[in-house]
């Protein structure tokens, strides 16, 4: 009888563990990257073809676009970040061709099929969507994810796309 109760408790305990919100084992830096058209740049060399991604397109008002990984790429035709005049300064990223269900000239991608929450994506598991931003620096594009108000404090994640030419910075100081 005692044994049966212990077993029951163990089973319930195990079930409870499965029911709890799973914390992704993969570090955020390997789950989040930036998108330029059909190009995904991410610090993860192990993404597989047909893997799902969820993109926050930042061309105008942030919108959610879903897509899949086509495969790793080394083509500047797919990824302008690999053009000769900027390739070396973007070489810390792994590049993939992505097939998106909508348009995303510039955006931030999260691996996997993320369920939208209030029109955004919750990366921290607190039930609230994070804030996704992009802005121009003097010679690149700054992508950031914020847990709170954008441009206040330290971003949850940041990515930098080196353009290799000079432009007018629009990022708030």
């Amino acid at each position: 009888m005692v044994t049966r109760r212990i077993l029951t408790l163990l089973v319930l305990s195990a079930a409870g563990c499965h029911a709890a919100p799973a914390t992704p084992a993969v570090p955020l830096d390997q789950r989040v990257g930036w998108v330029n058209g059909s190009c995904l740049a991410i610090m993860n060399a192990g993404l597989q073809p047909n893997g799902s991604i969820t993109v926050v397109a930042l061309d105008d008002k942030p919108t959610i676009v879903v897509g899949t990984i086509v495969g790793a790429t080394n083509s500047s035709g797919v990824c302008p970040a690999l053009l000769e005049d900027r390739r070396r300064s973007n070489d810390k990223w792994s590049f993939y061709e992505a097939r998106l269900d909508g348009k995303a000239d510039l955006g931030i991608a999260v691996t996997g099929h993320e369920k939208p929450i209030d029109g955004g994506i919750d990366l921290t598991g607190d039930g609230k969507p994070e804030q996704f931003t992009q802005c121009s620096t003097s010679e690149g594009v700054s992508f950031r994810v914020w847990s709170g108000m954008p441009y206040r404090g330290t971003p949850l994640w940041s990515g930098y796309y080196y353009l290799g030419y000079d432009t007018v910075a629009t990022c708030p100081s």
Binding site: N36, L58, D59, D60, S76, P80, A81, L83, E84, D85, R86, R88, S89, D105, L106, Q134, S136, T137, S138, E139, G140, V141, S142, Y160, Y161, Y162, L163, G164, Y165, D166, T167, V168, A169, T170, C171
Partner: protein
């Protein structure tokens, strides 16, 4: 005879108007400062890879006007001329002029989100030879000499923008960090 704007100009620019990655192409006084700074870092054990120094004014000109015309920010006839770049921006019909410019925007890979309002610049420290883009890496903590000869301990940070000690050492050599663009250092921090 001028050649109409279009993707052939991307090919031309990639042959005749490319950016340099050579320190020797920098403006004289800044060049000396950059050399001294890099020498101090390398002597301390850092690896420095210079990726870009002087940018081509002709390339910047092509970026600027192709961007503005393709996005409808100006009329093709508004484009100014530039010595050594015999390009015909105005094809006679606006849609054809925009098409030619768009081919260049695509070929050059100019990032143009719909909300973007600022064209690529035609003037900059890079164009004047007063800026350098470089990747600086090392392991752990190094002791690098600043311009005064003092040994400064600098711990590696993956985010170069956040490494204020490194910035301070560069500053003593007259090589100043722009904290928004990881590889970028210049004569005045812009």
């Amino acid at each position: 005879m001028a050649t109409k704007s279009g993707k052939s100009w991307v090919t031309w620019a990639n042959e005749h108007a490319v950016a340099s990655d050579k320190i020797e192409d920098l403006e004289a006084s800044f060049r000396t400062n950059v050399k001294d700074f890099i020498a101090a870092l390398e002597k301390a054990g850092a690896t420095v890879v210079v990726t870009e120094t002087k940018r081509s004014a002709k390339r910047a000109y092509l970026f600027h006007w192709s961007w503005k015309i393709a996005l409808g920010k100006c009329k093709p006839s508004d484009a100014t001329a530039m010595d050594g770049v015999d390009i015909q921006w105005d094809h006679g019909k606006d849609d054809e002029s925009k098409k030619g410019a768009q081919e260049m925007v695509d070929g050059f890979g100019l990032a143009v989100p719909p909300a973007s309002t600022n064209a690529p610049a035609t003037t900059s420290n890079h164009i004047e030879g007063k800026a350098v883009d470089m990747n600086i890496t090392w392991t752990g903590t190094i002791k690098a000499k600043d311009k005064t000869g003092a040994d400064i301990s600098i711990t590696f940070m993956a985010d170069t923008n956040a490494n204020s000690t490194l910035h301070t050492v560069g500053h003593t050599y007259g090589v100043k960090k722009l904290a928004t663009d990881a590889p970028h250092w210049s004569v005045d921090g812009h």
